[in-house]
């Protein structure tokens, strides 16, 4: 089942202890197409995390409505969020810090059991998803705390995949990992997105990841969405990206430096070293 996400005039207040922030999401309307890989970018405090939490029903909109496929969340008492949470898998930043069970298997089964799957079936799911995240089934009986940081993160993500979500939302899934570990996780996300057409939404600060993995980009500023479109059109206007005070992918940054210093003009915006090499050949330089 391929699921889309709709926000209709959604406003959200946020409250933690003494802090009460009004309109962390400010009248947002949005349609995320089914099966797309969307990157959410913006400054700290722009509302990226709140946007993700609203998709999972962890934050309830004060106005407007969120639709996940056929299910909806709005400001009304006694709505069942279980249907939403089952469909939207949420991977928090540093998800390994939520692991608690004494074996990897038990931790992965936690979600499915909460949603009423039988223990036998849950164990089967665990065997399947552990392979999906690139770990050996033999580690199911190990203590999760004996694994390395990158492995722990994959176990945590497996625990979300085990709930068989239709939508996967992730808050900086690569944060704090070394480049190899990060690449592995992001490639897995890409694979699931393409293979199972799992709608994927990822908050990130790394523009190189946006360039490499995402189909669409959402830019947030002060609780509003200031851009929502495909990656090509996002990177086509460098001045606009700078005006949002966002970074550029490494290759594009280098290309601009090169063009500025040498007066060479390349035919397109290059987001990968391969593209840059090809563009240099195309203009007949090398």
């Amino acid at each position: 089942m391929v699921t889309d996400i709709k926000f209709i005039n959604v406003s959200v207040d946020y409250r933690t202890g003494p802090l009460h922030s009004k309109n962390v999401l400010d009248n947002i309307s949005l349609h995320i197409k089914p099966g797309t890989f969307t990157a959410v970018v913006g400054h700290t405090g722009a509302g990226k995390s709140s946007l993700l939490k609203t998709m999972n029903g962890l934050v309830i909109p004060k106005k407007g409505m969120v639709k996940i496929g056929d299910y909806s969340i709005s400001n009304q008492p006694n709505q069942s969020l279980k249907n939403i949470r089952k469909r939207v898998g949420m991977v928090f930043q540093f998800p390994e810090s939520q692991i608690f069970a004494e074996t990897v298997e038990k931790d992965i089964c936690f979600g499915p059991l909460n949603f009423g799957i039988s223990p036998r079936e849950a164990k089967e799911i665990a065997r399947r998803v552990i392979k999906n995240v690139g770990l050996e089934p033999s580690c199911l009986h190990k203590s999760p705390f004996s694994l390395s940081g990158g492995e722990k993160r994959r176990v945590a993500i497996a625990g979300i995949l085990a709930m068989n979500p239709e939508v996967l939302v992730l808050d900086e899934p690569g944060a704090g990992l070394d480049p190899a570990g990060k690449k592995e996780i992001l490639s897995l996300l890409e694979k699931w997105n393409k293979k199972y057409r799992m709608t994927t939404i990822m908050v990130t600060h790394e523009m190189d990841d946006v360039a490499r993995y995402a189909d669409d980009v959402i830019v947030m500023e002060k609780g509003k969405i200031v851009f929502h479109g495909d990656v090509t059109s996002f990177f086509s206007d460098v001045e606009r990206i700078k005006s949002w005070k966002l970074d550029l992918p490494e290759t594009l940054k280098f290309q601009l430096e090169l063009e500025q210093q040498t007066g060479i003009r390349l035919p397109e915006k290059c987001l990968t070293p391969e593209k840059l090499a090809n563009a240099l050949i195309e203009v007949g330089l090398v």
């Binding site: 933690t16 202890g17 003494p18 009460h20 939490k53 999972n56 962890l58 279980k82 949470r85 089952k86 939207v88 898998g89 949420m90 928090f92 998800p95 810090s97 939520q98 692991i99 608690f100 069970a101 936690f110 979600g111 909460n114 949603f115 705390f145 625990g159 979300i160 709930m163």
Partner: protein
């Protein structure tokens, strides 16, 4: 706003904020003692005047203090009621079995009400206007003499300071883990007590593990930066005793003397 005000600091630059934390701590303790010496309406008038003057000087709106009393309201009413119903003496207005409503009972009830609210007001003043770490410093200073009894005062003080530093992190992390387990289908606050207890395991266990990891990192960082528990350290946070502090202590001495005198001669 969180209900419990005690223990929360509100930044500001009032006279009270700027007082030495030792002055505030000693004065508060002294004030609480004399509250219990007070027995006459003149004494309470003095205490209330002093309290309201202090509240005014903090520059923090009165309704915040009143909100600070609210969580204790049932406790206060209970104490007042006990006094009214079960102490006798003076003119008796009503009697039914052991229940007596008398003149003395009414007076005692009123006194109990005054004492409770005054204590809450004055302690709230201290915590609202003093950074927790400054309070720790003051406590450290006051219990320093106990080192003679081989009490590890310095270690306890640095422990308290670090605990204060990491409380916000702990709250933040708890909230995050609760959210994460909710997203995995946990429903908090539903079902029997036993079921509710069970939902807490996936919250407290990771919290515990993370805290241990954090403690190890912290210990490494402290050691790498040259921390040795058994060595003499200098202190960056200094006390600055000003004339305002001497003045405050002076006022408190006067206040104490007046309360004692009123008690003796009325």
């Amino acid at each position: 706003m969180n209900k419990l005000l005690l223990g929360r600091y509100i930044p500001g630059d009032s006279v009270v904020h700027r007082l030495d934390s030792r002055t505030k701590l000693i004065s508060a303790v002294c004030f609480i003692v004399i509250i219990f010496l007070a027995n006459h309406w003149q004494s309470f008038l003095l205490l209330w005047t002093f309290t309201f003057l202090t509240l005014y000087l903090t520059g923090i709106p009165l309704n915040i203090y009143i909100r600070g009393v609210k969580p204790f309201i049932w406790l206060i009413l209970f104490a007042v009621l006990m006094q009214i119903l079960f102490t006798g003496g003076g003119e008796i207005f009503f009697q039914w079995g052991p229940v007596t409503i008398s003149e003395l009972g009414m007076i005692n009830g009123l006194n109990a009400f005054f004492r409770f609210t005054l204590i809450i007001f004055i302690s709230t003043v201290v915590t609202l206007t003093t950074k927790p770490v400054e309070l720790t410093d003051a406590i450290y200073f006051l219990v320093k003499p106990l080192k003679v009894f081989r009490l590890p005062v310095e270690e306890i003080s640095i422990m308290l300071t670090i605990a204060l530093r990491f409380i916000p992190n702990l709250f933040e992390e708890t909230r995050k883990i609760i959210d994460a387990q909710k997203a995995r289908g946990t429903e908090f606050g539903k079902g029997s007590v036993f079921q509710q207890m069970k939902t807490l395991v996936p919250v407290f266990l990771p919290l515990f593990v993370n805290s241990l990891n954090r403690a190890e990192d912290l210990a490494n960082a402290m050691e790498a930066r040259g921390f040795r528990p058994d060595m003499k350290r200098s202190s960056f946070r200094q006390f600055h005793w000003k004339w305002q502090d001497s003045f405050t202590i002076g006022i408190l001495v006067l206040l104490t003397a007046s309360i004692i005198l009123i008690g003796l001669y009325e």
